[in-house]
């Protein structure tokens, strides 16, 4: 029950006043700047007795029928009470005294003056004076130790001193106050006070807290504070029983604490917010009289609850005083449970109040029985430690002003403490209690909510105004939640007394005239979280239900949640729901996650798995990356992403706190993109979320997996590699689910990964870590393994090279069984599908086949020499096809490596161990195989411009299987060709534009006349010169001549030409061969040419690496490393 606060009444003219009760409490005595002392029978006394004591009275004290006052003429006088007759002057100062007090038995008074002095005078004998010198500024306030040993004083010099009265020495001093030069400038008059009774504690109002110091040790025992106090405290006053402490502030608030449990039991506000400068407890009743600087007098009655427990208190107090505060189990609860008017934790903290409910410890507190001192001590202890912990918890999570645990409570282990469950929230929203807040900020747009006096409205704004123009909606239903997609705006409100909780959807992409629908929830069911996907909307309710709607408003699935929802998010067909699996302990949350697909095939992917959160953190954001991978962020700033490549585990991909400058800075995540790797978020200085104005700017953070030793080159590359792998997962997922995606980006990703692997390989080679090299090679695709073999042999690690080639062959033969079955259509298709669903296998298998085919080709070619090549010109058309890859991927970053790769296929044989004898037709089919795949890539890349305009990846459910089938069909067609030319034609018929592409490439290849090697380029340029010098040379001789001239060039020049050749777009095997055909008979020339042309992997004879290959390889190696 709140205390009663009587209306204030005029007491004195404006100015400083002081107040006290007489010994019996029968009247209130005030003094003021009008120089009068007034004696009030009670507050309603219309005719108080006035005693004029001087021109201006600064302070008065009353005891044993003596009234002392400090007045303007620098004296401290005595008057009789209640008569008011002057009884002499006790002492004088050179300046006026600011505060006078009696000691506990009324035999002495102390006065502190503006002349920096403090005097203690015996009331009966004013000659017995003690002077305390030491303050360097006017003395503000004094307080007598109830045991008469010490005297405390506060001064404008900023110090609080404790003096020993007997020898007038300063016992201790604390610099607690702000310095000032005069009393009128002091922020606070700092009326301090000793605890009545034994004087165990000294209470000092310092700024907004009351500091309590312990007698003798003089160390700070604890602070009393309250969020209610917003201004400096002016006065403190102990209740006569010593149990309660009242404090008044300069803005007129009065707060009363129960000192034992440091609980605030009373909060009161001065009706006019004048500064409280006098405060006095009634000696018996729970009354406080107070005066303000405007001369008004007020009275607070029934402090605490309505009872008047003073008598009982008094008795218990006397009984327990001696061991009251000496650190033992003195939880003497004095009978009445003093229920706080409002819990201290009600102090709303912007930061966390929205996220964490205050612990509801009141329940347990209530079980403590009334007025029973012999209560089970353990229980009290448990309870008090619970309270304490609660406070700690609050401190740490939010910043409820510090209530340090009192040392009166012994530490007591109470087992793990349950964490309050975090409230449901919408991702990308700011707390609901704000007047201006974001309801959602996602990759589509921003929904803001204004809720102030003049307006209650919702603003919707789209990042891309081509989706929809910005809109402004009235918010009459008081919507609290929102989500936004490219199709609709979804809003939801909680139920009120009359209205049910509503889901409101504005489906702006609808083509009919009705763009809105609303659905009422059943009675007593509140919507707690909502989300939008593609074509559907969902809401989770307090009845632990998830309701799914179509975006047009048809009710669809409904299912139960295992626990209260925390948040949910939608993307495409996917729905992720996070809920409480149970109760977390010691600051941890216990959350579970469900991931479902609501497409044609409905399935659950994550079946309520536990959600990994950083210790003592809670969830702050959950959503999907733009590519559709679920991600979430916890309050410690760790961003985690679903790693579909590792059995749907969560991998931390970024720690936003690492990027923060200040300790209290945060990043507020608004979106995640996997390609390019971007974490879009808003930097917030000193807050967890941004304000709506000024409009915050989005920043981009990079991702970083928490790998070890990322400062070293190795760690860095490992991190890069695995990050690339993780951020590549979505590609597989999307392709598996039939989404159209950019093959080009995919191949780029693979290339990037392989490049990193090669770099790592080179690094390990350099460090002579051959075993590690092998492990790395295990991760590589076949092409790159070949490159690695080459690198190893180049760097004279023959052992490694040998092992690598063994591994390559092993891999090849391992996978060779699969290609064997290729004849079977079913199998092959499956294989193909597998290739699509899992790019890694695709990529590793494909090259294997190439190698195999190469080996077979070698076998064939070793026997048939070149005849086959020369006799069947069609083959030439086909043969270059493997290098289509080179052509098509020329626009990809490293054409060079590709070329090497192609040449390396010819190079396998040095380490060749076995080869599967096979129908020579099959290789050609395989060649086609690769070709068509790559040509498809070309077609894709050629239509890249078109693709680019589309949103990067998601283009759902384009009937892709068809093209797959066509592709497959073309393979099978190609598998049994009688003549390759025919095949090409057939392919053209069957595979439509793809094979058209193929043909084009093939033509390009045949038509491509550009020389490819440096020498050839050089020769092209210098042919005229040679011819003018020796006009009668035939082609072969020209080449010969050219060769010798080229050799005479300086190495730099040659390098220039080689570089030129590399720079060109290129492939030219066909052309190479064409050139050869006319000169086919001149073996020698050909040999020469082969020696020079690095890329003519037509060279069938196993040869050691020739010069220029070495140059290029080393160039590659250098670049890589």
């Amino acid at each position: 029950m709140p205390s009663t606060q009587k209306p204030m009444r005029y007491g004195h003219t404006e100015g400083h006043t002081d107040v006290c009760f007489d010994d019996t409490g029968s009247c209130i005595v005030t003094c003021g700047s009008d120089g009068d002392v007034r004696i009030w029978e009670n507050l309603d006394d219309d005719d108080p007795k006035s005693i004029n004591v001087g021109e201006k009275a600064y302070s008065c004290a009353l005891k044993n029928g003596r009234l002392i006052t400090a007045v303007l003429n620098n004296t401290v006088q005595i008057h009789t009470f209640p008569e008011g007759a002057p009884d002499g002057i006790l002492t004088r100062f050179t300046m006026n005294a600011n505060h006078v007090i009696f000691n506990s038995d009324g035999t002495k008074i102390a006065a502190g003056s503006s002349d920096f002095m403090i005097k203690v005078v015996e009331v009966t004998d004013s000659s017995k004076q003690k002077t305390f010198r030491g303050h360097d500024a006017p003395v503000l306030s004094l307080s007598f130790d109830p045991r008469d040993v010490y005297l405390a004083s506060a001064s404008c010099d900023g110090s609080i001193r404790v003096w020993k009265i007997a020898d007038q020495t300063c016992t201790t001093s604390w610099p607690l106050l702000q310095k000032c030069n005069d009393v009128i400038n002091a922020k606070s008059i700092c009326r301090l006070g000793w605890q009545p009774g034994n004087g165990k504690l000294l209470a000092i109002p310092v700024d907004k807290v009351v500091k309590l110091y312990r007698r003798e040790t003089w160390d700070s025992q604890f602070d009393l504070s309250d969020t209610f106090i917003t201004q400096t405290l002016n006065v403190v006053a102990w209740s006569p029983c010593g149990q309660y402490l009242a404090a008044g502030s300069v803005d007129g608030s009065i707060v009363v604490w129960n000192v034992e449990n440091q609980e605030c039991i009373e909060r009161m506000k001065h009706e006019k917010n004048y500064s409280v400068c006098g405060l006095a407890w009634h000696p018996k009743y729970r009354q406080i009289a107070y005066t303000d600087t405007e001369g008004n007098l007020g009275l607070l009655e029934n402090i605490g609850n309505g009872k008047k427990p003073n008598d009982k208190v008094a008795s218990t107090v006397t009984k327990d005083y001696n061991d009251l505060f000496d650190g033992e189990d003195d939880d003497y609860l004095d009978g009445d449970m003093i229920e706080p008017q409002s819990s201290p934790k009600a102090g709303d903290n912007e930061d966390d109040a929205d996220d964490l409910m205050p612990t509801s410890g009141h329940l347990r507190r209530a079980i403590i029985d009334d007025d029973d001192n012999s209560l089970d001590i353990g229980m009290i202890k448990a309870n008090s430690s619970l309270l304490e912990k609660e406070d700690d918890d609050d401190d740490q999570t939010g910043g409820f002003p510090a209530l340090p645990p009192s040392s009166t409570q012994q530490p007591f282990y109470d087992g793990p403490m349950p964490t309050p469950k975090q409230k449901p929230f919408q991702s990308g929203s700011t707390p609901a209690h704000l007047m201006h807040r974001f309801m959602v900020w996602n990759s589509v747009g921003i929904v803001r909510c204004y809720n102030d006096e003049q307006d209650n409205a919702i603003d919707v704004e789209f990042h891309d105004t081509s989706i929809h123009h910005a809109t402004h909606l009235p918010n009459s239903l008081n919507h609290m939640m929102a989500d936004l997609s490219t199709e609709a705006i979804l809003l939801a409100c909680e139920s009120t007394e009359e209205l049910a909780s509503k889901l409101h959807c504005i489906h702006f992409s609808s083509w009919d005239a009705n763009k809105e629908w609303t659905v009422d929830m059943p009675k007593d069911e509140d919507i707690e979280a909502i989300c939008l996907g593609q074509g559907w909307a969902a809401c989770a309710t307090s009845a632990l239900l998830v309701r799914v709607f179509t975006v047009g408003g048809v009710q669809k699935e409904i299912f139960s949640l295992p626990g209260p929802v925390v948040s949910m998010a939608g993307h495409g067909e996917q729905l992720v729901i996070i809920y409480h699996r149970g109760t977390g302990f010691d600051g941890d949350q216990c959350l579970g996650v469900q991931l479902m697909e609501l497409g044609k095939k409905k399935k659950q992917i994550l079946h309520g798995d536990p959600l990994s959160l950083t210790k003592k953190s809670y969830l702050v954001w959950v959503g999907f990356s733009a590519e559709g991978t679920p991600c979430y962020v916890d309050s410690e700033g760790i961003v985690r992403m679903l790693n579909r490549g590792l059995g749907n585990t969560w991998i931390p991909v970024c720690n936003t706190r690492e990027h923060c400058k200040g300790k209290s800075d945060h990043y507020w995540v608004v979106g995640i993109h996997e390609n390019p790797q971007q974490l879009r978020c808003i930097p917030c200085k000193g807050a967890r979320f941004p304000p709506t104005l000024p409009r915050p700017a989005v920043a981009i953070l990079p991702f970083k997996l928490p790998y070890c030793q990322v400062t070293t080159e190795k760690g860095q590359m490992e991190e890069q590699y695995w990050r690339s792998v993780v951020f590549h997962n979505h590609v597989d997922y999307l392709s598996k689910n039939g989404y159209e995606l950019d093959e080009n980006a995919k191949s780029q990703l693979v290339k990037e990964q392989q490049e990193l692997l090669m770099k790592l390989f080179a690094l390990s080679c350099k460090l002579e870590r051959e075993f590690r090299c092998m492990e790395l090679a295990d991760l590589m695709t076949q092409n790159v393994v070949n490159l690695a073999i080459k690198y190893a042999s180049r760097s004279r690690r023959l052992n490694l090279a040998q092992r690598l080639s063994e591994m390559a062959v092993e891999k090849a033969s391992e996978l060779a069984t699969a290609p064997d079955d290729e004849e079977e259509e079913e199998d092959f298709r499956k294989h193909l599908n597998a290739g699509y669903s899992n790019s890694a296998t695709e990529w590793s298998r494909l090259p294997v086949r190439n190698v195999q085919q190469d080996q077979e080709m070698e076998n064939a070619e070793e026997t048939d020499a070149y005849e086959e090549v020369e006799e069947t010109p069609e083959v030439h058309k086909q043969r270059p096809n493997p290098f289509c890859k080179g052509v098509t991927s020329a626009e990809v970053t490293t054409p060079k490596s590709v070329v090497i790769v192609s040449s390396s296929q010819g190079r396998v044989n040095p380490f060749k161990v076995s080869s599967n004898k096979k129908d020579p037709v099959v290789p050609s089919a395989n060649v086609l195989d690769t070709m068509s795949k790559h040509s498809k890539k070309t077609s894709l890349s050629s239509s890249r411009a078109v693709n680019k305009q589309n949103p990067p990846v998601i283009k759902p459910l384009i009937p892709k299987p068809k093209s797959k089938q066509a592709l497959a069909a073309s393979f099978f067609q190609a598998r049994t060709p009688n003549s390759s030319a025919k095949t090409v034609e057939e392919r053209e018929e069957k595979a439509g534009n793809e094979s058209h592409e193929v043909k084009v490439t093939a033509q390009e290849n045949t038509e491509n006349k550009r020389p490819q090697t440096g020498f050839q380029m050089w020769l092209e340029e210098n042919r005229a010169n040679i011819l003018t010098d020796n006009p009668d040379l035939n082609e072969a001789e020209i080449i010969k001549e050219g060769m010798s001239r080229f050799r005479m060039l300086s190495s730099e020049e040659r390098v220039v030409w080689t570089e030129k050749a590399k720079g060109g777009t290129v492939n030219d095997l066909a052309e190479d061969k064409k050139r050869k055909r006319p000169t086919a008979d001149e073996d020698e020339v050909k040999k020469n040419q082969e020696q020079k042309s690095e890329d003519s992997n037509v060279s069938k004879k196993p040869k050691p690496l020739d010069q220029s290959t070495n140059v290029r390889l080393s160039a590659f190696a250098f670049k890589q490393s």
């Binding site: 990042h463 891309d464 105004t465």
Partner: protein, 172 residues
């Protein structure tokens, strides 16, 4: 088919046009000022003012400028130009635009006053050299032509005066 590009960050330099974009709705992008202003005028974007363009920083700069006798370094060599342009065309994207305008004007006035003073003392004390650090181009141009020409004139006058004086003294 331009969809609206929502956000631009101003590169605080009138530099050559390099690679721009990619423009993502909602993501800030750094573009040259002329392009930003152009897009702003077509209502295709919002501008994000440069970091220094906020009241506290500018107050600090102004106070510093007033306190010191020499020129203090400015946050951008084109501070005046940028302020003018941005405030003229994009004042709705800049919080407290009016205050910023006043602050920058104050700073500018202080600096120009200093410049005049130093020019005055330069001439008065007939110094041959003066070192003026941290002046921006625009500030130099406000006084450059006038000062050099004035010095030219004075030089001429002085050299003309010299023979006259000596001739005069010879009379004695």
């Amino acid at each position: 088919a331009i969809t609206s590009v929502k956000c631009f960050e101003i590169e605080n330099a009138l530099e050559t046009l390099g690679d721009l974009g990619p423009f993502n709705p909602g993501l800030p992008v750094e573009v040259p000022v002329w392009l930003a202003i152009n897009l702003k005028q077509r209502q295709k974007c919002r501008l994000i003012p440069p970091e220094w363009m906020e009241v506290e920083k500018l107050e600090e700069i102004r106070d510093q400028e007033r306190k010191e006798d020499t020129f203090t370094p400015m946050p951008s060599p084109y501070y005046m130009e940028l302020t003018k342009l941005l405030l003229n065309y994009a004042s709705d994207n800049i919080p407290k635009a009016d205050e910023i305008r006043t602050l920058v004007k104050d700073t500018w006035d202080t600096r120009i006053a200093k410049l005049r003073l130093s020019a005055d003392s330069f001439v008065r004390q007939q110094e041959a050299h003066a070192k003026l650090d941290n002046l921006t181009l625009m500030e130099i141009n406000t006084t450059g032509t006038f000062l050099t020409q004035a010095l030219d004139h004075m030089y001429k006058l002085r050299t003309n005066l010299q023979p006259g004086e000596s001739a005069h003294s010879q009379d004695f």
